[in-house]
Amino acid sequence: MREYVANVVQAATSIFDGLSVTFSHFFREPYTIQYPDRMPIPVQDTLPYRYRGFLDVDLEICTGCLACQRACPIDCILIETRKDKETKSMLIETFDIDLAKCMYCGLCTEPCPTGSIHHTREFEGADFSLESMVRRFIKEPVTAYKPKKKGEDDPVVAPILERGKRYIAEFADPKDDAPAAAGKGG
């Protein structure tokens, strides 16, 4: 009999308590971020610097060293290079990344000497076909970048290279000014 009453009392009090917890949620803000259209800032800007989104390549500073292709465990990068007979420079003929297959592991970006291949904070790539997910970066063969001993002076390439270097450096140790996961979790 005592157990009987105890059961009733326990049930009543615990349900009472549970109800009070859920009721208190009416006074809390919802946590939803109204992606895509009702956000104060684009969602990409809320992502941390290290976010491993789609890969991008700055062909201006790619040395054609194939380090990234070799590092990828699942062969989703294809680079084809050719020595140009006349200029003696290296031409990159193909630079394809299969984003449908990629696992966004970041292993390819680590060995890149210039930070040419890097993750962006882009992730919206839904499409009706798979073919469109292969990023073909090269339309026409481009000359591979040759690092200069004295540092880069070409006004076009320099900022890009600086970005790449910064990427390498700051990925591991981002400075405070690197955009962080702001505006979330609030």
């Binding site: 895509p36 789609f54 449908a100 297959k101 592991c105 919206e124 790539g125 839904a126 009706f128 798979l130």
Partner: protein, 168 residues
């Protein structure tokens, strides 16, 4: 007696089609079909932050009441046959979203002996969402794309000769 695909194109039928498409896309009920890691992101997408419910999308347990199959995760060969069966058991109209590299094309498990390289080998896919796993917003993006596609469909209108030829 059904009006589907039997009415000539005119303003009224176009309007009706628009209405039909609106209801369909506003109430996409997806079948719980989490297979692997992407399933966690699928749950998170249904969770408080991304909240698919905003668009009227609700999870369903059976194929019978679902409109959409979100294939979230690695499709093994063992599972592929079941997937096909479940897809077939969904009533028309039905859509498939392939979520993540694995179900897109096998992804990193193309190396595996037991994985079906891509869900499109077993069932037709409407939208592919890249990512491994795609973050909830990416999936939402894919679903919005699907909604776009749905809003352009024609139901009542009798398909023109070339369309019919294309279909068959």
């Amino acid at each position: 007696m059904s009006l589907v695909n039997s009415v000539p194109e005119m303003v009224l039928t176009t309007k009706v089609d628009q209405l039909l498409n609106w209801t369909r896309k506003s109430s996409l009920w997806y079948m719980l079909f989490g297979l692997a890691c992407c399933a966690i992101e699928l749950m998170q997408t249904g969770g408080p932050r991304a909240d698919l419910d905003r668009f009227g999308m609700a999870p369903r347990a059976t194929p019978r009441t679902s409109d959409l199959m979100i294939v979230a995760g690695t499709l093994t060969l063992k599972m592929a046959l079941r997937t096909k069966l479940l897809y077939e058991q969904m009533p028309e109209p039905k859509y498939v979203v392939s979520m993540g590299s694995c179900s897109n094309c096998g992804g990193l498990f193309q190396l595996a002996y037991s994985v079906c390289d891509g869900v499109d080998k077993v069932i037709p896919v409407d939208v592919y969402v890249p990512g491994c796993p795609p973050r909830p917003e990416a999936l939402t993006d894919g679903l919005i794309l699907l909604q776009k596609k749905m809003s352009e469909e024609k139901w009542l209108v009798r398909p023109s000769a070339e369309e019919a030829a294309l279909l068959s």
